[in-house]
Amino acid sequence: MTRDAAHLLPSTEPVTLIDSDGHPVPHVGHDMPDPQALVSAYAALIAARRFNDQANALVRQGRLAVYPSSHGQEACQVACVQVLGDGDWLFPTYRDSAAIVARGVDPVEALTLLRGDWHSGYDPQTTNVAPQATPLATHLLHAVGVAHAARLRGEPTVVMALCGDGATSEGDFHEALNFAAVFRTPVVFFIQNNEYAISVPLARQTAAPSLAHKGIGYGVPSERVDGNDVAALLTVLGDAVSRARAGEGPQLIEAHTYRVQAHTNADDPRRYRSEDEVTPWLSRDPITRLSDYLAEQGLLDDERVAACAADAEQLAERMRAGLNAETAADYRDLFAHVYAVPTSQLREQQALVADELSREEVR
């Protein structure tokens, strides 16, 4: 009665193609991405790191309300976007601002939410990037719906749906995986397992051998990958996207990585973990690993390094300029988008605010 189950289980060890020292690791069934892809990934990693650094700085300067950094997770941020085609969709969480920007969204628009200006800044319909989801795992179901609609129309769309290790505990994670599997919907569920959900470690989140072991319970093929190895990520995620696009249904990928910084600037990690735990992860940094490899392969020269750094600095400059500029909030936005046509009640309420504001001006 059991359908062939073995291929649904992930490998025992996460797939790694470049080790922490930057040396290639041969891997049966998983090829090294071509140099072109790795060099693009390098540029994207440098930009993503710069994005994180600049966002952290902007928080300290009071220009952003809050920032959940993906420092150390940039390989995940970059790879999950690089494997997508133009018509594909990305469903990010609050921690995936770097991925959103890697996808081509304007960095200032990407930070609208975290700046406190509005709940979302970019246009999902033109960027194919869903609004960042805060209620955990809820967006995974939207991802299934977007993919299912595309499939009903015969479009080749694949949806990349991101979540964290903590989010896998929510009922919506379960329902999303199951719906996608039953309807063979082309979604790649990509878990960035960074070992923490705010203060709660993975061991309090699951007793499973790995999060990827959840796949078989839905009939979803699953794989584990080193989340700090952009090469392995590109290959594993790329294969998953291809399978999904080929009609093989949803795929589940767990990346093993680590949240090197605090949950957000408001968090104090000293309350729940020691520096000793963090230190080893610093030496597994995704950027050094890739640049060591590329340098060794002769794929990265000083010129390219400088060019990437310059591009990243331009990105940072764009962020600073955009976020240091004052934006005028428009009170009419409060009422304009609740419904397509404001109700008479909303028109009354808007008039009340208009009246208050006009009286303030008079004073």
Binding site: P124, P135, H142, V146, R153, D172, H174, V182, A336
Partner: protein, 331 residues
Amino acid sequence: MTSVVPEKMTMANALNRALRDAMRADESVVMFGEDVGALGGVFRITDGLTAEFGEQRCFDTPLAEAGILGMAIGMAMNGMRPIVEMQFDAFAYPAFEQLISHAAKMRNRTRGRVTLPLVIRIPYAGGIGGVEHHCDSSEAYYAHTPGLHVVAPSDPADAYGLLRAAIESPDPVVFLEPKKLYFSRSEADLTLPVPPIGTAVVRRPGTDATLIAYGPAVPIALEAAEAAAQEGRSLQVVDLRSIVPFDDETVCAAVRSTGRAVVVAEAAGFASVSAEVVARVTERCFHSLHAPIRRVTGFDIPYPPPKLEHLHLPSVDRILDAVDELQWEYA
């Protein structure tokens, strides 16, 4: 094909026709939920849709309400007009987060860039002898949530017209189908336009006091008005039809015309839609009122078992008692 000659039909028939006509008219309309395919829904509202439109347009899902609504939200984000059925009122609660945090907020979140033309059909309220969890009146939860339209028909013609309008709405509509009215029959000409969502109607003229009701309470209010007429009292009956948007104009005009009002609703009264009606009508019509507006509602108790539900539901007698208390001595 809708019929041109008025026809005796049930609300269940009318809803089924509305779904069928909408699916014929627009390819992007899809219907899904639990048991809505081959079975045609436990109340048969989706009867025949899979047969006519195929598995891709009317289909059963895995048993998970958050999943159903969440997937519908995604499909609506990507060009479809999904209609979902929650099997019973209380079984919509697992979808609450999806409804409140996403369905209601997506348009606002994206300043109109992402819209969700989406209908959540909920067989709702009591009076059918159902066991626990099958008879909740949950409209207050939805009506309190900005971003949702909330609609409740009280007869077949309205059921047809409001459901067609809900499906055409660019915004999410919680469509409450009074279970106990599913199988009552009345004459309906489905080709006639019905007033749009957001419009209340005066179902019965009257001069002494106004009964304000919606959904399953409307037929009771009409019965009470009929009984009152026998006793020489003329009661006007207003059917809200749409809870959100609320038709202040029609309701307030009606109450001003009589100076007295009773709100009738099945749901528990506390912090409810009926409370809102009392509050907003009083705020607007205070000096036209001869007596405080009264409420005849379900009690502030969990919905009772079949053996006791008749004591809980608004009844003709209870409405007439409330009307009697409208301080006629001041008239």
